[in-house]
């Protein structure tokens, strides 16, 4: 039996004023998987999610959740979706339990069921000691946990999390990761957006990389990495290598048949990033060549390509570079949004 996809997005488009925030996004999420939407800030991830969660009307494209059209039947979609926004928005005067009671009522859970479900969520997210304190006194990690409890209260088929661990400390972050894995094990479909590569790599079974409003690559993390091929060697001749020496070494290494490409990374003490053939014993070959030229080795490491390499290969920039560029456009975009709202 072929299962109906949990989420279908086809050729989604959305603009705010003059900014085309989403140009063409298509993706399909199967039931029970964790799907990662990866991209720099300003790539269109949040806009995509806002369209999916019925907060914003798309300009064009098809959006479905569990086979139900998001545009035509927003109320039914809302009942099936859980949405955890990037910024945790709580009423600081309410206690955690009061917030959950409000949440239960706006999802129309009947009284008794609401009560048991709230107790269940408080226990599950380890909020017992805090449930009857005002949320204004909560730490960041605690707020996120309460937000998760609220988003899961009505047992959504699909949970959407926008940048779930931005601003959390490492401990809270790994707690969120653990929890999302449990949730997936229990059958919930999860869509997360992130600009943290490790987060998507650690959690997602499939990934779409999105840049400037378009999906530029998608598949399992392993597929994406395999597609761009090669392995990576990071080489440091000295802790801080003089540029001249690094360039010379780079030219020398380029002549080796196993080496496909060499980049001198000036941001990291002129270390050398090599793309090498996967099947060869490249590490040995490189080390041997260095020794023959009498060059020292401060550090050398071989690795599989990372998702950042996938992104770099597709756009010619790293996600970090893209973020820097997007940051400067950010304010303008916000203004556009406001202009749009006036209409």
């Amino acid at each position: 039996m072929s299962q109906q996809p949990a989420v279908v997005i086809e050729n989604l488009q959305k603009h705010y004023g003059d900014v085309q925030a989403v140009k063409d996004v298509s993706l399909q999420i199967e039931p029970g998987e964790i799907f990662g939407l990866l991209g720099p800030n300003g790539a269109g991830k949040t806009t995509t999610i806002r369209c999916l969660c019925t907060l914003t009307l798309p300009d064009a494209g098809k959006l479905e959740v569990m086979g139900v059209s998001v545009v035509a039947e927003p109320r039914q979609v809302r009942q099936r979706l859980g949405y955890i926004a990037q910024e945790v928005a709580l009423d600081k005067v309410l206690t955690g339990r009061e917030l959950l009671q409000l949440q239960a009522a706006i999802y129309h859970l009947p009284g008794k069921l609401a009560k048991t479900r709230i107790a269940q969520m408080i226990e599950l997210l380890e909020l017992t000691d805090w449930a009857d304190k005002k949320t204004g006194t909560y730490s960041g990690g605690l707020k996120k946990r309460l937000d998760l409890a609220a988003g899961l209260l009505h047992q959504p088929d699909v949970l959407v999390l926008d940048e779930p661990t931005v601003g959390l400390d490492i401990e809270s972050r790994s707690a969120v990761w653990r929890f999302l894995r449990q949730l997936q094990a229990a059958g919930t479909t999860i869509l997360i957006t992130s600009h943290y590569l490790e987060e998507v790599d650690a959690l997602a079974s499939r990934v779409a990389i999105i840049d400037q409003g378009k999906v530029i690559s998608s598949g399992t993390p392993a597929e994406l990495k395999a597609n761009i091929g090669g392995e990576r060697i990071t080489l440091r001749i000295r802790e801080f290598t003089p540029l001249e020496e690094a360039t010379q070494a780079s030219q020398m290494l380029q002549t080796l048949p196993v080496v496909q490409e060499v980049i001198v990374n000036s941001a990291q003490g002129n270390s050398l990033n090599l793309v090498v053939e996967s099947e060869s014993d490249a590490l040995m070959t490189v080390q041997k060549a260095l020794k023959e030229k009498g060059l020292p080795t401060f550090g050398i490491a071989q690795s599989q390509p990372s998702l950042d390499d996938v992104y770099l290969a597709a756009t010619g920039r790293t996600i970090m570079d893209a973020e820097m560029a997007a940051a400067s456009k950010r304010d303008m975009k916000k203004e556009m949004k406001q202009q749009n709202m006036k209409r």
Binding site: L55, E98, I106, Q155, Q182
Partner: protein, 291 residues
């Protein structure tokens, strides 16, 4: 944390049944929950209530004192200014509260809390309007009770029981209409700065361009025309009449406008129209999918 507690079978079953069929009881459920939140806020910030009661009483005392020495009979036979101003202060207070109702919603929007409501399967977003209106109405009735009590103490007398009931109905209609208008603005305007600007511009001018402080007959022609169009006047005049006449009926003439006499029943009808009109105007605004 055991994974078995994540899923609740009972809930799953309920969900499968519930998704297609929201009804009136669900609307009541969401409205009451949203109202409860506002009352919890009030309970934990009691200064709002205290200020809300003290302010209109200060208006009453100060305005009463300002016009204490106007010649007897200027505002009507055997009417002192204290009796005259009471109705104005009652309506102005309820109006001010309702006009500000959009502010907490705007802050909810700016802090992202409103998204919590907008992604939820509300039967109708009118529940947000009704919840605010219930809260503001309750506040207004408490404020009104305080104003009525102080007015009585200052010698303005008391309307009859039926009169007090009618007064409540008038206040409720005004509050519902103005609250809807304010919430519509909270959804439509870009941010709280703009909303505050609108409230600021609307509030006092609407007071001065109504019959709250002086009767229509005192005003120049252009102002009395505006005041005759001002919904506040249609709330103030019947309440004032109730204060001054114990023998009122729905056909009692309560207003002499630029285009004729208006009866008690007519002012009520106009208030209902104002209320329905305001709700109708608000509907598309709150159902927009905002960014």
């Amino acid at each position: 944390m055991s994974s078995s507690s994540i899923q609740n079978n009972q809930l799953q079953q309920w969900k499968d049944d519930a998704i297609a069929s929201p009804g009136f009881s669900e609307f009541v459920q969401e409205t009451l929950a949203l109202t409860k939140r506002l009352f919890i806020q009030l309970q934990r910030r009691p200064s709002t209530l205290a200020a809300g009661i003290i302010q209109p009483l200060m208006w009453l005392i100060l305005f009463g004192a300002l016009f204490q020495n106007v010649p007897q009979g200027l505002f009507g036979d055997n009417v002192n200014y204290g009796q005259f101003i009471g109705a104005g202060i009652i309506v102005f207070t309820a109006f001010g509260g309702a006009l500000n109702a959009g502010l907490p919603v705007m802050f909810d929007r700016e802090f992202g809390f409103l998204n919590r409501l907008l992604v939820a399967p509300l039967v109708s977003r009118f529940s947000i309007v009704i919840a605010s209106a219930i809260f503001i109405a309750a506040m207004s009735l408490v404020q009104t009770a305080a104003i009525v009590a102080l007015s009585a103490f200052l010698g303005a007398g008391l309307p009859s029981i039926a009169g007090l009931g009618l007064m409540m109905a008038i206040i409720l209609m005004l509050v519902l209409g103005v609250t809807a208008f304010s919430l519509g603005l909270a959804f439509a305007l870009p941010g709280h700065i703009e909303l505050i600007a609108v409230i600021f511009v609307a509030n006092l001018p609407l007071l001065f361009a109504s019959t709250a402080l002086v009767p229509l007959s005192f005003m120049p022609r252009w102002l009395s025309t505006i005041a005759s169009l001002n919904p506040l006047s249609y709330a103030i005049e019947p309440i004032r009449y109730l204060y001054l006449h114990n023998d009122w009926t729905l056909s009692s003439i309560v207003m002499q406008t630029a285009w004729g006499e208006i009866s008690m029943g007519m002012t009520l009808l106009l208030l209902v129209i104002f209320c329905v009109g305001s709700l109708a105007l608000t509907y598309p605004l709150i159902n927009r999918r905002i960014a």
